[in-house]
Amino acid sequence: MEPIRSFESRTVVLPFTNIDTDQIIPARFLTTTTKEGLGQRAFADWRYEASGAPKPDFILNKPEARGCSILVAGRNFGCGSSREHAPWALLDFGFKAVISTEIADIFRNNSLKNGLLPIVVDEQSHQWLLQNPGASVRIDLEAGTVQLPTGASIKFTVERFARYCLLNGIDELGFLLQKDAAITSYEQAHA
């Protein structure tokens, strides 16, 4: 994985609470056996008509959403399924971070393992972000800050080990494989 340190982008806002994984990637697209190409399917039922034509009013179809890599969403983003297809779809679409006041557990884990930053901010900063779609925001993982164009700097935390892996482009599987001796002795003690 490529190390992630900081990046800047305009935001896209989906103000709804409880956006679940079935919205992020509807189940009918889960019959894939690879990770590629899911970005086209992200939010498919909100994005496309039944005919497959894009709905012009939906934010992700608007020209101003192009090139945005930060998604701001309502509380409890990513609830529901453990499908990793959800962060895969968001990453493939071009997102690098999701900001909310609350992010569901499994989705957060899955995101961190793929280099999509799940960022939880306080209510007040969240309100500002919701009310200022398209704002240019800078995310600095090393400093643990979201910098708003107002000059405000919002603190966020990412679980320490996940942060370390992201900053250094380290793969967790490699870390686990190094624990082989400890795993073997655990297995012997619990056989």
Binding site: P15, T17, A27, N76, C79, S82, N114, K179, I183
Partner: protein, 475 residues
């Protein structure tokens, strides 16, 4: 010694390396359940890195999500209609063969929804750590296991190392006192709990369900409760094992046998929350006054008693959006609302006792004209039992469709879907937009409520239908 919760005991017994400030715990996984949808990319990773499955004896695969429920497709008389699903099935067959993992494949008698067969085969046991690339893995917590859903990257990690990197979650005690009234089920209880604590109420926590109302539940009912822990946002749900648990497990395929059995039970008896152990959070709940529940919105926390009305909060744009999707208005009564589809199935409510309950309502009656009723057993074993004891005939006589086991309409990725704009009373666990098919409108409820809706073609309080009959099987 410190007083400990059930969760803490199971967690600590599985720490290969305890967590530190800098690193999460390395947690050992006793049982890894695998299915076709969330595993292909994990096996690809193993292949790319030249890794093996570390413990094939702790790994068990089945197919349920994208697999068809039409017998002709299941038994290969006609090809699987959804082409990409057919490919996924092939892929799992190939992966299991190549990596030496036992697969309960399409034609296998022990196949079924992963969370139904784990317990049914006795693979799910008290005190185990159990994972699967599926959020409803929480179901297995009904046995006092620590069971939770993982993503595909983690599926790869467990395949390769039998371990996961985990931060210790917080604990949440939900105390349920009293007794469920007749016609009020475990499904109604868990829906009411989610309604109370909210769909993110359990985030970051492992719930332990406790109290007299929980102890009185059968294993099937306990599984229904734990199953929907994830709908409350919790990582897992657990119930301490007791005589009900041991009675259920004894003699099952993977359960300890002979002298091993007694030793195991002795060990399992220690898996209880000690008196004086502290939860990070506690909520109390009363089962006595509970009514059958039904959802009206687009997440499982949008739920009311079946006799209730759709809430009408002022200035709530999200609520309004949800009601617009559902085609419902605030203040509207739910009872009497016409419906087009009834789905009795899923890992929440497709075990034998769920089908029995539905049959108690449906026996000698007919599915209303214009209603499609689909009954999908949770496993092939449930299917065989229901056919042997007459339940299946009650369903088909009533005019319902009777299928091979699988996730079916719960997830709508296998050909079984609810059409756009249609209302479905479903015994599954998610009423998200489009969950049962693009534009589908789901009302979650118990098998009794679903069966009652099938007869009347409307949202119906099942209690009137239930009182008339005590036993349907063998009568």
């Amino acid at each position: 010694m410190n007083a400990k919760t059930l969760f803490e005991k199971v967690w600590e017994q599985h720490e290969v390396v305890p967590e530190t400030v800098d690193t999460p715990a390395v947690l050992y996984i006793d049982l890894h359940l695998v299915h076709e949808v969330t595993s292909p990319q994990a096996f690809s990773l193993l292949r790319a890195q030249g890794l093996k499955v570390r413990r094939t004896d702790r790994t068990l695969a089945t197919m349920d999500h994208s697999t068809p429920t039409d017998p002709d497709e299941v038994f290969g008389r006609v090809p699987i209609k959804v082409e990409s699903a057919a490919k996924q099935v092939k892929e799992l067959e190939k992966n299991c063969r190549e990596f030496g993992v036992e697969l309960l494949g399409l034609g296998n008698e022990q196949r079924g929804i992963v969370h139904v067969i784990g317990p049914e085969l006795g693979a799910t046991q008290p005190g185990k750590t159990i994972v699967c690339g599926d959020s409803h893995t929480a179901t297995h917590g009904a046995f006092g296991a620590l069971a939770f859903g993982i993503g595909t990257t983690e599926v790869g990690q467990v395949l390769a190392t039998q371990c996961l990197l985990q931060r210790r979650p917080k604990t949440f005690g939900i105390e349920v006192q009293g007794r469920l009234q007749d016609g009020v089920t475990a499904k109604d209880l868990i829906l009411a709990i989610i309604g109370k604590i909210g769909v993110s109420g359990g985030t970051g926590h492992v719930i332990e369900y406790r109290g007299s109302a929980i102890e009185a539940l059968s294993m099937d009912e306990r599984m229904t409760v734990c199953n929907m822990s994830i709908e409350a946002g919790a990582r897992a749900g657990m119930i301490a094992p007791d005589e009900t648990t041991y009675r259920y497990l004894k003699g099952r395929r993977f359960a300890p046998q002979g002298a091993q059995w007694n030793l195991a039970v002795e060990r399992w008896r220690s898996l209880r929350t000690d008196a004086g152990a502290k939860f990070d959070r506690v909520v109390e709940f009363d089962a006595d006054t509970l009514e059958p529940m039904i959802t009206y919105g687009t997440h499982p926390g949008m739920v009311v008693p079946i006799t209730g009305t759709v809430p009408n909060p002022a200035n709530d744009a999200v609520h309004a959006k949800s009601l617009a999707y559902m085609g419902l208005s605030g203040g509207e009564r739910l009872e009497g609302k016409p419906i087009q589809v009834v789905f009795i199935g899923s890992c929440t409510n497709a075990r034998l006792s769920d089908l029995e309950l539905a049959a108690r309502v449906l026996k000698g009656r007919k599915v209303a004209r214009g209603v499609r009723a689909l009954v999908v057993p949770g496993s092939q074993q449930v299917k065989r039992e229901a056919e042997a004891n007459g339940l299946a005939k009650i369903f088909t006589d009533a005019g319902a469709e009777w299928r091979e086991s699988g996730c079916s309409m719960c997830i709508g990725m296998n050909g079984d879907i609810v059409a756009k704009g249609e209302y479905a009373v479903s015994t599954s666990n998610r009423n998200f937009e489009g969950r049962q098919g693009a534009g589908s409108r789901t009302l979650l409820a118990s098998p009794a409520t679903a069966a009652a809706a099938a007869i009347t073609g409307k949202v119906t309080d099942p209690r009137a239908f239930l009182t008339e009959m005590k036993s349907v099987v063998h009568s």
